[in-house]
Amino acid sequence: MTAHAPDMATLSAYLDGELGISERRQLDAHLATCRPCALQLAALQALAADFAKLPQENLGFDLAGVIEGRLAVAPRPRGKPRTARWWGLLPVSLGAAASIALGVGMGSALFGGAAVTPRVTAMSVFDTLPPGGLCLGAESCYGKGARK
């Protein structure tokens, strides 16, 4: 066999079990004899294993209970006609309100003061620190130059 560059897209799809049967069999046979491809596959497998080892972040409270409280005071959704609703006024729904930060008050505004647990209140406090445990202090995280 002539030297060749491993086809990363095919190896990656092989890893995901997304190849057709014949393509898969062909690659099985190839991997048995081609060291470069086998090494690349091993690298992809190791990466998948790393993903499985990422720390599992948790909400830390039962959001469903909070949502239940909010739904109790929210109008029941209907398919048609579409009328303006109070949450339609939120910046997020408008999408384009680039200048308005979501964080502070989003939770409290939505709750209208009702059914707010202390934990929920804490949620709307903006944290200017890097996300806990997620980032290793790289300033460029989540967009280079975003804060420059």
Binding site: D7, D16, L39, A42, N58, L71, A72, P77, W87, G143
Partner: protein, 194 residues
Amino acid sequence: MTTRTDDAEDERLAAQAQTGDRQAFTLLVRRYQERVFRFILRMSGARDEAMDLTQETFMKAYQALPAWRPEARFGTWLFQIARNVTLDLLRRRRTVEFIPLDTGLPDGAALDPQDAAPLPEEQLADKQRIQLLERALCELPVEQREILLLRELENMSYADIAAMLNIEAGTVKSRLARARVAVLAHYRHHAGEK
């Protein structure tokens, strides 16, 4: 990873919620809250914002529920909302670089396997690899970050990812491979750092 039984239960609850059964919707929230939160957190990198956006995702899902159809897997539909809500945030932060990653490139092209050349095992300890992975996720273009999360953490099939991102399955394949190569290149690049 969802099973067929999970899907059937989702469908049952969503159909019930469509009739106005708030408790059914609450159960759906409980089934998905941690996964949606983790996805948004990994996408946005900010815990407080991720909490807010997770709530927002479910409120939007509730409002959009009349439009949901059983043909669309509920989980995929929900993650689509979570993604949109998160992209809105990233746009407001003006940090999203929408680069047409896949245009003009055939499947598998422009992937330099050298970038992903395996490292000797001992060069990177487990802990270091995880840290590098987290950092790589931060720095990847959002298109690559999201597709990696959907595949590696959510275990979504290419078909589901394609439906969710509204792209071809072939694009899923090439974009995912490119994202993986990018992370491996990141490992490689930082292998010498301690």
